[in-house]
Symmetry: C2
Subunit: 292 residues, 2 copies
């Protein structure tokens, strides 16, 4: 059921992204080519899927919110492009493909990231069928989650702590912002656009918190035990880069146990929902089983 749901949504999202940034007819072509290169580099579309699944869980039709969902994916993609730059993580490969700056050069990669972030907002603000005040509040929340108090703040801590030993609290702070904030914004955006109640929003807040944590722990585990061809980047790169990870801090077995407990908490957070939230339950369970 999860597999079919995701396949359907990914097809929708990819088609919509292709309409938002067509592959020809725009000038200067180089910037649109660089934007498309990373946007269609095999991403799992997790954030737009979370947005739609949250809307579905409150009895709406998540696919009505494709513009906001696609805008989120553009913001996520820009952050990956800038993160991979030599001045940041200096990665040559992502998902098994050359990173943006390895193909287009640092200058164009910076601009492609800038353009995706900016266009993400333009696309989100074009979402039809939602009361303007609700859309304003939703996009404002997404901006806050993506900025210096959210994702960019987390990347800053990551950048400044590389090669240094950080403690568990700093590690959690960093991930809560670097990846957690955008997951949370995706879930809340789906819920807000669909008109969720405050009680439902509170449940999504807790689910989002645990989902983000489970994502990060399983990501760290994958860096140690994953198959290189599936993960798409060299296994052990965190260790090589002296990155603090959950596995480094707690060991592999304890990290696995933490991941399982976190997934259970996420599922418990959805107790007020019936089967309409099954996709969200399956999505967080899937984190334990994923191989990439």
């Amino acid at each position: 059921m999860l597999k079919q749901y995701c396949q359907e949504k990914v097809a929708m999202i990819d088609a919509a992204l292709g309409r938002f940034i067509p592959d020809s007819g725009q000038y200067p072509p180089a910037i649109f080519e660089a934007m498309r290169y990373s946007l269609f580099a095999g991403g799992k579309r997790l954030r737009p899927i979370l947005l739609m699944a949250a809307a579905d869980a409150v009895q709406s039709d998540g696919s009505k919110f494709l513009p906001v969902a696609c805008g989120l994916e553009m913001i996520h993609t820009y952050s990956l492009i800038h993160d991979d730059l030599p001045a940041m993580d200096d990665d040559d490969y992502r998902r098994g493909k050359l990173t943006n700056h390895k193909v287009y050069g640092d200058g164009l990669a910076i601009l492609a990231g800038d353009a995706l972030l900016t266009y993400g907002f333009e696309v989100m603000l074009s979402q039809p069928g939602v009361a303007p005040a609700v859309l304003l509040a939703t996009v404002r929340e997404i901006a806050a989650a993506a900025g210096a108090q959210g994702m960019v703040g987390g990347q800053t801590v990551d950048l400044l702590s590389e090669g240094q030993s950080i403690d568990a609290a700093t590690l959690e702070f960093m991930h809560r912002r670097k990846t957690g904030a955008l997951f949370r914004a995706a879930l809340r955006a789906g819920a807000l656009l669909a008109g969720a109640s405050q009680e439902q929003l509170n449940c999504f807040n807790e689910y989002a918190e645990q989902f983000g944590l489970a994502f990060q722990i399983t990501d760290d585990i994958l860096d140690v035990v994953g198959k290189e061809e599936l993960v798409g980047k060299p296994i052990g790169s965190d260790q090589k880069n002296n990155k603090v990870t959950y596995v480094a801090l707690y060991g592999l077995e304890k990290a696995r146990e933490m991941a399982r407990q976190t997934v259970e908490k996420a599922i418990t957070a959805l107790d007020i929902f019936g089967t309409e939230a099954d996709i969200l339950r399956d999505l967080v369970r899937f984190l334990l089983a994923r191989d990439s």
Copy 2:
């Protein structure tokens, strides 16, 4: 009159920017320090002033729109930070001060730019006292002006044409997007927020077109004849970098004549307005007399 108007508005804008990004109490401090460094590096606040002057010209009170005005300044500032990076123009100084990456390093400079762009949207979307649908449309226009079809598109053409000879049409296309698009968005935003009529909007469109052109021509002239300590960067840097400029294309005298004619056209565009548009008239005249 222009001088006093600008001093008042700059004081308002600076105070508001300081409230939006206070100088302490935020974590991680490094990113906010880097954001503030460039935001308070002596910018002329031209875009927020244009926004407020356009609102004033349609009998509104431009200072009501400080959040959108400040958001525009943040977007402008991010573009300067990224433009100065080694992967782009590789400039060490701007307005007589070290550029952001020379002080904070390339990684943090990239993140400070990202954070300013993102926060610019968050701040604009918090603008009170405007119908949500009007605010949505206004911010959407600003996003379009700042993105791949606007400012970032112009920077892309600039990046790709460095060291190459480009023709007059390409030069104009580049400037129309790189600087013109955001001037235009500033003027239109002020007009839209203030509830301008379609006839008034048309006048601002034409004024913006000519203002942007006059700004660029006088900028190119300043690079040749300006005083280094006033302009804040080495004089002749365009020539040194093999940049195509209006002066290089047409010679100094013809460029001066073009600037004068362009300013006249901008003033003519405002013919339907009375004295309430005098600030806009003075602002474009000022471009001819500026020394920085």
